[in-house]
Symmetry: D2
Amino acid sequence: MTPISLGIVGASGYSGELLVRLLLRHPGAKVAAVTSRSLAGTPLEQAMPELRGAAQGLVFTKSEPAELAARDDVSVWFLALPHGVAAEYARAFLSAGRRVIDLSADFRLSDPARYQEYYAHAHPAPELLAEAVYALPELQLSEDWKSKKLLACPGCYPTSILTPLVPLLRAKILTGSNIVINSLSGVSGAGKQAKEFYSFCERAESSVAYGLPKHRHLAEIEEQLGAAAGHPVIVQFTPHLIPQRRGIISTIVAPSGGKTLEELYAVWKQAYAGRPFVSLLPSGTCPDSAHTVGTNRVDFSAVLDSRTGNFVITSAEDNLMKGASGQAVQIFNLLHGLPETAGLL
Amino acid sequence: MTPISLGIVGASGYSGELLVRLLLRHPGAKVAAVTSRSLAGTPLEQAMPELRGAAQGLVFTKSEPAELAARDDVSVWFLALPHGVAAEYARAFLSAGRRVIDLSADFRLSDPARYQEYYAHAHPAPELLAEAVYALPELQLSEDWKSKKLLACPGCYPTSILTPLVPLLRAKILTGSNIVINSLSGVSGAGKQAKEFYSFCERAESSVAYGLPKHRHLAEIEEQLGAAAGHPVIVQFTPHLIPQRRGIISTIVAPSGGKTLEELYAVWKQAYAGRPFVSLLPSGTCPDSAHTVGTNRVDFSAVLDSRTGNFVITSAEDNLMKGASGQAVQIFNLLHGLPETAGLL
Amino acid sequence: MTPISLGIVGASGYSGELLVRLLLRHPGAKVAAVTSRSLAGTPLEQAMPELRGAAQGLVFTKSEPAELAARDDVSVWFLALPHGVAAEYARAFLSAGRRVIDLSADFRLSDPARYQEYYAHAHPAPELLAEAVYALPELQLSEDWKSKKLLACPGCYPTSILTPLVPLLRAKILTGSNIVINSLSGVSGAGKQAKEFYSFCERAESSVAYGLPKHRHLAEIEEQLGAAAGHPVIVQFTPHLIPQRRGIISTIVAPSGGKTLEELYAVWKQAYAGRPFVSLLPSGTCPDSAHTVGTNRVDFSAVLDSRTGNFVITSAEDNLMKGASGQAVQIFNLLHGLPETAGLL
Amino acid sequence: MTPISLGIVGASGYSGELLVRLLLRHPGAKVAAVTSRSLAGTPLEQAMPELRGAAQGLVFTKSEPAELAARDDVSVWFLALPHGVAAEYARAFLSAGRRVIDLSADFRLSDPARYQEYYAHAHPAPELLAEAVYALPELQLSEDWKSKKLLACPGCYPTSILTPLVPLLRAKILTGSNIVINSLSGVSGAGKQAKEFYSFCERAESSVAYGLPKHRHLAEIEEQLGAAAGHPVIVQFTPHLIPQRRGIISTIVAPSGGKTLEELYAVWKQAYAGRPFVSLLPSGTCPDSAHTVGTNRVDFSAVLDSRTGNFVITSAEDNLMKGASGQAVQIFNLLHGLPETAGLL
């Protein structure tokens, strides 16, 4: 089979770097272009020393949307760009008939007003929202999503939360009321940073909550939970920064409303039968972030606390893999009829 | 003033080591005895290399309760022992008329049945429970507690949780219903460990929930919250292990029931006015565990989430200081009329 | 092409785990057997949670040498066993006509007396030494080594030291006199450990020299350097343990004897032209261990200090990849005529 | 005794912060002024959250040299400033008759030409060099140094290297030839940094040599070693950055020239008898950086490698304590006739 030719825009951050690394060794992909405004002209392996000897001679090119859109050797573009910036690239690429897999937040919310509320500026391309789909592959109910041209990769926190919760809301195991979510993230979730706060001496041996009470990812979490429940869902979400590089765990407390642990697990088993990147752990075994790092899995389990009547669900993932670049490659695989796990094991 | 002569039993763990270090440099204390079954005969500075040059010639002695109780050069004994073991020392020392500051869990619960439920063996000295007081100094309502002979130091998680919550329950800002607590602890909370699970390679870059749904500290948390509320309180408590050596943060979600943030802060300000080891941070500033390490403080703040109607309270402390050894020294200071901060700044 | 069927003995340590992971996704390999005395009967993905969903249904089998040797579905055996234990497996497998790639130290030294000096017990299979080859692929001078049945994988420290030094000794750029080597290793170099010394709290924020003055790896370092120089070479080697999980860097000081930096680089360029797993960095750029983690590369560079007349050579590698499992897979590839990089990018 | 009133200029870096913390709790000191250009007007405990509750109401003041020099409530000024900046403060304070304890490099070298060579700008106050003394207390041969008005605190690397080496050169145990030094430093040695290179994600799990071949500290190392030997000494010095916050270890290889380990230890014992901040470890026990963190000690030991004829000396210290702020306080104590350990245990 001919490898699919692709380009990666804005590859200099952590998720961009990992995306390049995954796609360079992907058996069904050919990396035709890697772009960066700041690094144009620089050989890939100079900017990304971990790719020494594996960069296939690639050099960063400039990042002009129109120029890139004109390239006919690229059929799929991955966008590893900040929110607000990704949209103009998406517009150019879609106009030229290319497909776009967008790792930014620009097309994750269906409502531009909600986007403005959470991102503090007007939506940069509301006319494209109808083209977009929130692409968490395990949660799609039909195959239609693969026909979309604009695939919005979910955020890192949302993936760890939605994967366990959405099937439970769809199946009415949970109503959506009184859900309390606490998430812990490694520092790479903040991206490459030249700030004192993110320096080694400040972050090592330090843990802290942040983003209270309305972290940006809350918007997409609640939109997806609401869609699953069939009515609006409001949750309490508190993210925390902890001293590790990669990995997220989420601890979700939700009233059981009389449902049993067996009913909960039955829903999960049905929803995720045969899915290679979801791992259900037995009740009582809490997933460890370290066991997911370097993999594209999300692991989770639940207990029922008979004293409180709550389910306590814990999940883990690699924020840069299933939470970003790995999921983007998984989407790429599914769109093109490749094995779902290609390049991801 | 003559320094108070004291002994430390079981000083070889992390909280024991820190206790020795704090008391060796304490201006009002004289360390007369340091005991350890496994280290008897070993010079302190050999077993604790961080004390090289500061160990005052001390050598570990044997740990026979009767022998130790017979020493008339020791008026206060600190117990840094596992639960179940501390009680026999407490009994011997109290019989001999000494005071006991116990860092173990043996005298934290008033009800032996609850002790058995959580610690899986019968209470080793139920007859002493009437002598004991749960000694979280900032939460004592009168001076009576200082006349007790058996002082139970609170656990590390409970201190970070009770300090912010108890005044709010007493003042009816919170009812005690539907409280969800998530705590994150550094690895020293598990003590010195020779297990693969606690090895550097397994813990570095790893975060994981554990102890679901009934961690042992839950018993003392609920007993103290219930006493503050005037009725039983049941909470959802999930501890997590994160890759740092010292430090705990707790994130507490509690329904506001229509109370305002101003009312909440007013209660805190009144409860903790002039207390040197409680630091109230402004709403919106979340305490960072690293800022408390090496101090005896607990820092906390709150926000009110208008979307959910919940207060979100976050707190931080050093698990080995305010969560263990520092608090024991603070108790020692208060019992003996020394400045509360002596040896702790 | 038919995948080559192989077995892995003693796969429960860090290098064993990584070997399994690499070979499970290797396009030219089929993992037919994974053995462990302590884990026999346990599914692989239970013992190695990072392999959840990727373990191909494998279950650990027992580890009896004779039984394993009798399996005709395995043509190559990898030994990830302690020194002293590996030899008996090697004997059984060689007798049965299988090939052996041994990650232990048992066949790295040509002289049984030297083995006894450094490993403190008699060599367990001196009769096999003639069958063995010290298999650092980049340093082999002819293709003969691929005909050997018993391949001894070099140690982690030696790989980072021999790769830069051997060509310089062969080319007489260095004489071998007065070489001082300091190496820094992540904690995984000590293997999986249930000792207090290797606990997170003891190793985090801690660095320390160890193994002075005769670390076991010194024996193979000096044997190989001596072979390259054509006369015995004695070096000063000091390893250090530092708070990271993976990665080794080595800093090598050697008198230049009037040779220039250009002469040194010319030798390196000739020796390593076209080798995918050696990366020469420009003088003045020191390799960073983090850039090699997850790769099979060794990176190195040199400066000439005009004040002292010394070359200072610095190198970096992933101790578990090029220093152990990755190198074993590289050997496997070369033995079987597969691309050298198969399964390793 | 009346506490000595002092000021600290430029207290916002790591060594400045620690200096403030040490002096605030020092029984013989009163912190009268803390200055910072960027933080003027900010309460200390806001800028340094670890001092919450212990900042004695101090507020950062402006940093104009003339204004500060005019304050008659300050008799000693500590300078925690970058090199090149410290000198103008020293000039102003000395003119006003104050004493200066300078943590910068401005007065560590006696030769302005050497300063220019290593710091790449002209010496900012060569006329003051005659007033200055290189104040490593344990290495002073007479009491004269305490009469100096300008005390230059040694660098962090030099302290860990000079303390073991200087007595050996003075006693002719070592000649000074062919010494190779490798040092490992925690990241705080680079100061507070807002650079991507010093970010948590780049430094965690990373080790790297740097500053080859002429790190700035080499100049003061060689000047002091030369003075001890009585003739110029040139050494090979390679520093490395490792993933810990605090702590330095140095590994020093030096030809024994036929001297014995007993002779070496005898010199050390005589040189350091009764010194509270030097700890000699038995041969074979390598000092661990973690055991020195939070202390003002330097620990060291040596082995003699009979194969190479070299001594291998290993040392450890806390780069921010004995390597900077603790040593400054030690100097302060000795200048004022206070106990050497005051405020430092």
